[in-house]
Symmetry: D2
Subunit: 430 residues, 4 copies
């Protein structure tokens, strides 16, 4: 395995840099999906694309028609085959790859998320820039490591392809769109891909104080989350001549933002809130008559997240009343919590003993974040399957979602080994 | 004159509707300027366009290169001659038209503002929509009557053309860009157009409780104003995993906005403040690391405006400190105050007695707004000229800058008569 | 007159310092009233005290029983006769003094306000302290000059006493309690004292850039005002163990305060708002379950004041909703506007020509403040009487209501002369 | 033991009701201390009072001279002996009781907190009111169960007195003042009472879903805390006449309060903040020139508490800058964290097996609150002693610090048994 990895590693890096160079946000991963499809087709997987991969009506936070059209236009410019674009048209990105060894054995599902973030990438003192693979899509960036996850996914696919004669059972590889905003997992779950799955594996490139080589076998502390959009509508007026006639939607939004962060902490556990974006007003000398915000709440449990969101609704309404504006709140995403099975700790320790690439196994890591993967984990567990979500440790230059986010590229090898090592154990032919 | 106006009136309305249909904001009035040029060229005026009309470096609040490029592209699509676009290129819109009768007499300058606002026009219960001349330029609207001002300007030009044999002295017609935001008048003043002017006339279509026909001979109560842009820069962080590492620029901006409106009223006179637009953040689950605001202060005197702006700077800095962000404040426009000469009251009363179109003269009207024209008025007065700024009364459906702003179109005839009636008195050959 | 004033002046200063030394706020002026009564009794005026002076139920903002009791106890300690305390008991302070010359002539009413403010007096670099007549009543101060007004009132009474043989008609002197907060005038109006009055005179010690000697014959620009108390009620909880269970009244009050100041300025004229006091919470580690605020709105017209107060009610309700608290708003005072009669300008100019004490007459002064006296002025004007409210100019060390407020004491002589000079003109026997 | 408790129980209830009836806040527990002294003197303990009990200069948050004087006056009215008042004078409340059996054995220290809260007690639907032992000290209330703790302390003293012949070693009973606000424990620690202590026991009456009888043997999750006072100083001005001259301290305080609650949650653990009280301004129509706030921060670790307090200082400064006021921040209390020794779990289980009064032992309970006792626990542990802090479970009508806080009185018996049962085990003569 280690030798095979020596050969794979340059490819992992090439793929990663390729994906990094053209980041696409949730439901617009046309170019990204096309590249994955191209690679997997060569390896003989059965592929499910477009509405065959995701349940159309279970998607949330789909961009508007204009944005999708723009993305499809760009896909054309990037030479994505017309037929493929048509299949994905309307924001049906992502791909599912199936491999059946024909031999009796367990069914393992693996998930790799592929979307990027709407962040302007750093241009100074930044490795991707120095190496020439920085984002060429202005205002967008792989700042959460999903470029690496996709690359690991392709690596795992290569493993299955080249080792299929030694393996038994079935494999489902889920290249999931729209993880950011917790918008995509549900659409794959609703399509049924997580039913009758025995093992479920996923993971994330994450922080570690130590050198690359550490892997957390399980994670805990997923935060339930609600993603919401809020629109305030007021009344425009000439700010100089008739200030008293305006109803100021910008001030409703400003007030809402401040108080959202001041929701009382809860004694039952961790909570979070963020108002990520705010756009308000049209002209300098006009009372702002509209405002639009994107935000999210989180909680250590579903109840804590609901506690936060109940307050958010209350604060939004009062902030409208404060300035005589009206308000609409829309839930555009939902993340839940899930628990890893501890059986994976021992399993990963066995892998680590066998291969040097992993030099340390952490039994559990508390992550305190939300992850769309929890929908899949819950679905698998409902059918009796065993699930885990690993962290592949690496020093990070800056934290996730930062314009200078960057990781050490040899973590990709670690990610592939952790997954394939476990598959080897579970699907060994005899 | 009244008979001549009967003939002109349909043209006034046609022009107005033409301008209304394609609104352009300050320094992007390519299509608008081209239409004015086309009309004036026929009438034999000497025209000054582009850098010949405005002093390039005295312009403020010029849109960025991308926005200008886009506007020029649209101009091409609207069949504006290439040579004309080139002359205006880089946001040098507006036009100055000169007529010298060759006969000794006074020099009168007249100013008509031509720009529109970044407002979405109403689509229901709205006269322009019903009559099919609503804005075809989405997100932009003539919501301040400048379409009518431009139309009146063309009407006055026709008068000068057709009556030039009866007149003495010189005339300078200033079709001024970028009045909104107080950004354009200075650029024409600095070009020298207001030097050695004996009389200066301008005006605005404005509210009246009475029927069309009332004209205010002079106005008072102009508000001095400062236009400013503010940028807060913070630090992004993952809102779920590391909320404590972010420095929230959205909250700095929200706090700034609220406190800007709470600057204490001043016992010395009227003040105003508006934060017209606010854009902050990039992703839903990222602490917002930047925010950008456009705002303005006003005061009955220059000192009162400075009082407001001093507080705004203080509040901006404290709002940055509150969240550990940094702040930059840029002044992007300046409006001053000016006083009309009362000699115009008697002059307009004479005109009103002669012509039925004006049925009532108001000596003075307090407007409580800012007007870029004040820069021109001050310049004329410094050289000893007499100035006025009139209001042409009309019932308004909604106030200025409102998506349903609309006026009665026969006010255009009143505007033309008020101006030409005064010109007749002052420039009568003998 | 000037010679008579030379003799009176030391007494004016003595009285003023006496009143300054023991300041009492509205409806607790027991000691102050007793001193006035003592002086007037000697001069043979018919006095009306307690419920004979003020209409009990028309008083507003009366302190609670405990505060009144405390004030009455202090009065006892200051040796106010028991019978007098009983007459004033329950906060019926102030006194009306009547003099009928028995000779046919006009009826003139004069008003002097007597209450102090709840302000801690300055102790450094302060004239009253240096001269040993600073407030001995901690937390209270004559910071608005009513000590001087009361002294002028006594001076005028002495004039009437000593000159009564030369005068005709009737005189009503109103020593009014509770001017601060606009709470007392109505109670004297409702008692009927302002009916059938021909002339009404009042005034205020006020700022002037010039030396003492200037008097403004009339004032304009009174602000209508509403005084209000607001109570928020929330729910206490242990701030460490159960922060989520509290409903924070302190935050409702904080939010209310900030937004009250941010009510849009109005194009129709001046407005004001102030939240003067805020008390909230009971313990450091308990979520604050109550909050109490005292505030006021003002407007150049009654309509503008109502505009402000309507917003205040809206903001208070929304601030309650923001934190799930409840709110109660109580109107505790009302001030209106009134207009002086310009006939007084000429009258005062005549007085000034006759006497050197007044060296300059300003026809009108805009004051931009609220004054309870407007209730009396309106009442007199309804019956056809002529009214004015003068300003007696003096350099001020600091503005009204400041802990270092102080005026030049020779302004008292000017105040007396302005009033008695006018009385001499109007009530001259023949 | 159970039989002895049957006899003691009525006394426990009588004592508790006595203390409940006259609640006194930190450093003013004159009457409370006197009652404890009276009881203990009868039992032959060696008592340490006043500066012999607490280190004067290590006290924090001592009330001002006026408040202390008032409290001493009240003590006189409650017939506290003059000599005792003198000993405690200046806020040296609390008492230490020592008993040395003369027999070799361990030294156990026990701590009971005795202070009340500044809360108005509920008057309706409230057991103490129904039974006639509600607070007669208006505005103060035993809303945290310290009346019960004191009663338990006296019960334990009776046990030691009546069982001293069967016991070995030494006992130090600490009746600690000023627990609320984390102000008193340090003053007893600095006096040396916790040096060379082998065992340390304390506890709290707390919530339980089950019937009375459950005891948590140890607690975890103490929150570190900082108590602070903040003063803003601004500038007064007449709110109507010169609003622009004021510097509004009330608004600085309001802004501070809101933003304090909006400090970002921290990924490393629980945090808390509370602004418990706010007093600002002096007069309705005067710009508020001062504001005073009492608040606290908390954190699961010392570092988290420091994170909160660092933000609080930053926000306070920026809130001053926002309105041109000045600010002073004073730390008036400090609570730390501490860990119970798990050896006590087994010990308490043994007690529970022996006596029916305890029907359930909870090994650990997470409390998520701050407790001054942690200073004592740390001191004992530094010298190698074993410590615990128990919770005596009872249904509560409302949570701690609520005006309707109330517990079942038979929990007092449980508290005494838990302590004396453990003492029996540790100090058994042979």
């Amino acid at each position: 395995m280690e030798r095979w990895l020596d050969e794979l590693e340059p490819k992992l890096i090439t793929w990663r840099r390729h994906f990094h160079k053209y980041p696409e946000v949730g439901w617009t991963e046309y170019v990204t999906t096309a590249k994955i499809v191209e690679e997997l087709e060569r390896l003989g997987f059965t592929l499910y694309i477009g509405k065959d991969a995701v349940d159309s009506s279970s998607r949330s936070g789909v961009p508007n028609a204009e944005q999708l059209e723009e993305a499809e236009l760009r896909a054309k410019e990037h030479n994505v085959p017309k037929a493929l674009i048509e299949k994905m048209s309307g924001g049906h990105t992502g791909v599912v790859a199936r491999l059946d060894t024909g031999r009796k054995g367990p069914h393992t599902a693996l998930r790799f998320d592929i979307d990027a973030l709407p962040i302007f990438e750093a241009t100074e003192d930044h490795f991707p820039k120095a190496e020439g693979f920085q984002s060429i899509h202005d205002g967008f960036m792989h700042a959460c490591g999903h470029d690496g996850h996709t690359s690991i996914g392709l690596g795992v696919a290569h493993y299955l392809y080249s080792h299929q004669d030694e393996l038994s059972g079935e494999f489902t590889l889920l290249f999931q769109p729209a993880e950011e905003g917790s918008r995509g997992a549900k659409a794959m779950v609703e399509k049924g891909w997580l039913s009758n799955v025995d093992h479920f594996l996923s993971g994330h490139i994450g922080i570690s104080d130590e050198e690359v080589g550490l892997v957390a076998a399980t994670t805990e502390g997923f935060l339930a989350t609600t993603k919401f959009d809020i629109t305030f509508k007021g009344k425009a007026s000439h700010a100089g001549a008739k200030p008293e006639e305006g109803k100021n939607a910008l001030l409703s939004a400003a007030n809402f933002s401040q108080h959202a962060y001041a929701i009382p902490r809860h004694s039952a556990g961790d909570t979070r809130v963020n108002i990520g974006t705010l756009e308000a007003g049209s002209g300098r000398n006009v009372t702002a008559d509209h405002a639009f915000l994107r935000g999210e709440s989180r909680g250590e449990t579903k109840e804590l997240d609901r506690y936060m969101f109940a307050h958010i609704k209350q604060i939004a309404q009062a902030s409208a009343d404060l300035y005589g504006t009206t308000v609409e709140i829309e839930e555009v995403g939902q993340g839940t919590t899930a628990e890893c099975d501890h059986v994976w700790i021992e399993r990963l320790e066995e892998v680590a003993q066998k291969y040097d690439t992993i030099n340390k196994v952490l039994p559990k890591l508390a992550i305190g974040a939300s992850e769309d993967v929890t929908h899949m984990m819950r679905s698998v567990k409902e059918d009796g399957g065993e699930v885990t979500y690993m962290i592949f440790g690496t020093p990070l230059k800056e934290g996730h979602h930062h314009p200078q986010f960057d990781y050490e590229e040899n973590v990709l090898r670690v990610g592939v080994l952790a997954v394939t090592g476990l598959l080897e154990n579970l699907h060994c032919k005899d």
